[in-house]
């Protein structure tokens, strides 16, 4: 059975139909780029996969469970333990140091902080942001912020890593670095990776591409 299975998924905001009957599946450990122009519905699709929103109709089944059947408590646990998010706007909380930001999902989930902090320290060394850990987000560069964001998303070793325009705010050098990094980390961590992007250079890093236009898969 596929790790992610979408069946006739539709999403409507008011009178606007953003997703129109999507059907596809993604296997475990797959690396997938979701491409599309701005407003095509690709981010909405990612949020449905991450349990941040519910489809108007259709089914989103992840690891054999229909997200629409989950209660809030179960969905919260799913968001905490099964998926990791990397957002375009890094969403690092400005009032906390990068270390505290990284440990936030672990604190919410009531996990063993010491073990997770140790893993994150290794990852921070690997990504070259150890010096940023005790700084506040506003004290580090955009590229460093995004790497901290990635460490936080991977901190609980999620099954699925969902990235929404992770390079949207980066220059071309950092874009290339982050795209390569995501691919390598997903491989190392055995994580299924879905990256939403409108950038062909980023999409080129991933073996499978899903192209969305006007809420429909066209390729």
């Amino acid at each position: 059975m596929s790790l992610i299975q979408l069946t006739k998924v539709e999403k409507t905001f008011g009178k606007t139909k953003v997703l129109r009957g999507l059907n596809f599946s993604i296997e475990e450990h797959e690396l997938v780029a979701i491409r599309g122009a701005s407003g095509s519905g690709k981010s909405t699709l990612l949020y449905l996969l991450g349990g941040l929103d519910q489809p108007t109709s259709g089914q989103v089944i992840i690891d054999g469970k229909n997200l629409s059947d989950m209660g809030d408590e179960e969905l919260a646990l799913f968001r905490n333990a099964t998926v990791g998010f990397v957002f375009q706007f890094h969403f690092l909380l400005p009032s906390m140091t990068c270390r505290d930001n990284i440990l936030l999902p672990a604190r919410i989930g009531g996990k063993d902080l010491k073990a997770i902090e140790k893993n994150c320290q290794v990852l921070a060394d690997h990504l070259g942001v150890t010096h940023c850990l005790d700084k506040f987000p506003f004290e580090i560069s955009g590229g460093e912020q995004q790497r901290i964001n990635i460490i936080r998303a991977l901190s609980l070793r999620p099954k699925i890593l969902l990235c929404d325009e992770p390079t949207g705010n980066l220059d071309s050098v950092n874009t290339e670095k982050v795209a390569t990094l995501l691919k390598n980390l997903a491989h190392d961590y055995g994580t299924t990776l879905l990256v939403v992007t409108h950038d062909d250079r980023v999409a080129a890093h991933f073996p499978r591409k899903i192209v969305i236009e006007d809420g429909q898969i066209i390729g």
Binding site: L52, D72, L77, F85, F91, S95, I108
Partner: protein, 398 residues
Amino acid sequence: MNSYLSILKIVLHGRGGIKILVATLASFAFSISVILCTFGLMDGFDHLLKSGLRHSSGDILITSQRGFFILGDRLKQEIETIKPKAIASVIQTEAFALHADKSRGVLVRGIESESFSLATGLSLKIAPGGMAIGSVLAKDLNLKVGDFLALTLGRGNDSNEALPSVKQFRVDQIVSHGIYQKDLRFVYMPRLDLAELLGVGEKINLVVLAVESAAIALKDLAPIEEARQKLRYEMSSEFLIKPFWGEYAFLIEAVKVEKFSISLILQLIVVVAVFNIMAFVIYIMEKKAQDFFFLRAVGLSLGSLMKFWLVSIVLIWAISCTLAHFLSEIFNWSLHNLSFLQIPGEIYVLSSLNVRLNATAYVTVYFVSLIWVMIASFGGYWRLRRRPIIQGLRQEFS
């Protein structure tokens, strides 16, 4: 618990968060304490006035329209129908107290120390030739125990023998009723001494009764009113039967009305406290909403959010109530110990005020404040709960 502390740490992160929380707690505690103290002052006034009156009048006073009378067997039998805890025979007359260059109009009471103390709860021990005087009178005439005070007493107007007589008495005791006028005017002396001076023999002109034990603070006036009505039914209409509060009934009624009026005015203070809490909630919403939406995105459930809200509100409320209690205690201590907070007794009847708070007052004020704090903060919680996570994230981080 760990999750709660983590969220709390996020909410309070930064100096501004802690400062505004401290300010909210202080203002809420202050508002609650103002309400508590106001109710406490009203209840304290009521209690002090009643206990002061009881200390001078017992529970029921019986006088005769004819003036002096003898407390005979028949009268005693009629009084016994209400099974009083104590009966005191008293002679009461007006006089002038003279000392040095000063004179004061006083009310002299001839009593038997033991029975009068039992009937009123005012501890008196006066030897023959001695007297007990009110504390304000002692201060006014600069008298202390052992000094002598002259009393000018009338003896009727039947003949030359009934001309006023002046006699000195030793001050054996200085007493305090807690009521300014009584402390200024009352003088106690042995009944036999006064009877001899007035030439009234065995006659008296006042009977003081204790319906309930004078040592126990009264909670309810109903039994006394009931006993008074029973006596009214039993005794001849020649006798006037008054409850101890009859003298100041208008004042007790006024305090009741004032308590109600002030409780309405105090709603303004409650509103101010509610504004403070709302300001704190608005601050949290403005500064921390993005944090909350992000927490939701990384796994904070609505149940956990609700728990966090409830625990926080109850903590704010509990800390404020505890602080308010201490503030009330400090105010009460200040009332007793700081001279500038002493009230002029000649205006306010009582020589001092006291904050007296019973369980009902605490429960009422604390419960109402909990309701208010929940209402004031619910909007913030509901806003977080109502908005979809993704909408919140997009708006707050845009």
